[in-house]
Amino acid sequence: MIIKLAWRNIWRNRTRSLVIMTAIALGIVAALFLDAFFMGMMSSYVDSGINKVTSHIQIHAPGYLDDENIKTIIKSPGMTLNAIDTMSEVKGVSSRILVYGMISSSRTSQSILVKGIDIDRERMVSDLEPYIVEGQFLSPSSRNKIIVSSRTADKMKVGLGKKIVVTFQDMEGDITAGLFRIQGLYDTGNNGFDEFNAFVKKEDIIRTMFPSNPPEYDPDHEIAILLNDKSEVGRMQYLLSKTYPDLDIKTYKEISPELSLYESQMDTMSWIYFIIIMLALVFGIVNTMLMAVLDRYKELGVLMSVGMGKARVFGMVLMETWFLCLVAAPIGMLLGYLVISYFNARGIDLSGWSEMLEEYGMLVFVHPEVSSASFIRLTIILVLTASLAAVYPAWKAISLNPLDAIRKI
């Protein structure tokens, strides 16, 4: 009966209840959208980091990540590569030779990381090819060709087909250089990445590293693994560490702690958005419930006179507040979901801020995305919000003197 009473009470003043329900629903839409928007930004940042730079898991020889020494190579990388390739969780695996050096044009030079890649395998783990804006990606038939970013090309005042020299320290510690012709220019939108990375075929860089005496196996520095499911990262790291105890196996979170930090920060931020929006709603709900209680002052006095205890009166007001939220929440959540789905499909164009976003490695097109965790989080906060908002009106209700209330006209 108390539930029935509470439910009917919220419809006594239909307009007032509908106004606050609309406010709650819109608050939920706003909270979800804000969360989804920033989640979309975060995902684009993290996914672009994974797809361009880190992959999900990287394998190096022990100590390589400490000094990135060209001599610290993975032993028998081919066998490891092939074994990992057979694992069902793995979407793609590729090995790379990493050479830190300088590239020079006739006009200028700059530091660079040249990645010697296996073209076919690299396509499985990184998505560089779609970012080629001029020219072509490396092909099996090309020789001594290099892919640089259009940003680097502009800086060095070179263009497609032009020659550039890559200089670095070889395996013996001597300075060596190779001449490469620009085959393609890429632009990922991530300035930090674009300015510092160039790509050549593995055999071309090996020739430069070992001009007279090529090794029996590829002098790989890195094996990059892309998984089918990002959430499997921890388990796969454990599994690979057991299988290859003499190799250094790291997840993208360890390789690039800023990605992990960004992920966890977004989670915290999401709680903060929800709490701020819901706190704003608290005042609206308190106001509505307070009016509802004061309107029924006499009736509450009667209820207490005929034997309705304070706990029940408190519970009734609490329930009324929950009902307001219970009606508004599914509407707000559904509406929020629809709005997010719409913008997820279309994307939100932030090209007005492209320079700033690219500086931070973010894409200019954000696709808001919402997770079930957001809905759970929102539900928890909503229940707390409703309960918090109900306290004062409910306390006001139980503080009344039944006799004074009955006498009130």
């Binding site: 009470n9 006499k298 005929v306 034997g307 009955i406």
Partner: protein
């Protein structure tokens, strides 16, 4: 068997400024099954005395024992509980819960007491027959006349079978036909269920039906007459 014992009850309002003695040294005993009217001019202390008996107000001095319970020993929550179990209230302005139907209003206190559904339904049907509103059970108070609302209020008070019903000016807002119908009903229930009825009123229609009339003047009992 006395169900109400009032011992030298006083109630002083505005004690610190200009004290008003609403009830001034009232002592009385009311037996189970009595049909009592407390009368007196406006401001004589009728409603105050009724509120003190009902545990809605506390006396400044004196002791009130209702159904063997000294009300001064109970805190606010215990008083609410006591009222629920032992007392029924009928108010001048009916004070039904507008969002509940007549049936739900009638069974409300039984529900607070935790009575089972079957028990509640049976009692509501029984009372609905008595008050002649069987066909109005699904109706909300706003759609009932004043007389019908007051009959529902009486049924609400009677539903949990309390020993005592306290009615504050129950006929004040009723036309004669409705007032007589209500008084007949209460007299019948008083006879059949041995419920003690105590009214505060200055309605002659009620006074003429009471078997005991306590006349209050300036907060004191001026006369206490049995009229069998």
């Amino acid at each position: 068997m006395p169900v109400i014992i009032a011992e030298n009850i006083t109630k002083i309002y505005n004690e610190e400024k200009i004290p008003v003695h609403a009830v001034n040294g009232v002592s009385m005993t009311i037996e189970l099954g009595e049909f009592v009217t407390i009368i007196g001019p406006s401001g004589s202390g009728k409603s105050t005395l009724l509120n003190i008996i009902g545990g809605l107000d506390r006396p400044t001095t004196g002791r009130i024992i209702v159904d063997d319970q000294d009300l001064s020993e109970l805190n606010d929550n215990q008083l609410i509980n006591f009222r629920k179990k032992h007392l029924g209230f009928v108010f001048q302005f009916y004070n039904l819960i507008p969002v509940l139907t007549a049936e739900e209003n009638m069974e409300f206190v039984m529900l607070l007491q935790g009575d089972r559904k079957a028990e509640r339904k049976a009692r509501v049907m029984e009372l609905a027959r008595e008050i002649g509103l069987e066909d109005k059970l699904a109706t909300r108070p706003a759609e009932l006349s004043g007389g019908q609302q007051q009959r529902v209020a009486v049924a609400r008070a009677l539903a949990p079978k309390p020993k005592i019903i306290l009615a504050d000016e129950p006929t004040a807002n009723l036309d004669s036909a409705s007032a007589f119908k209500l008084l007949d009903l209460m007299a019948k229930l008083n006879q059949e269920e041995k419920t003690t009825f105590i009214f505060s009123t200055h309605d002659q229609r009620v006074i003429s039906r009471a078997r005991r009339v306590i006349n209050l003047v300036d907060g004191k009992i001026e006369s206490d007459v049995r009229q069998d």
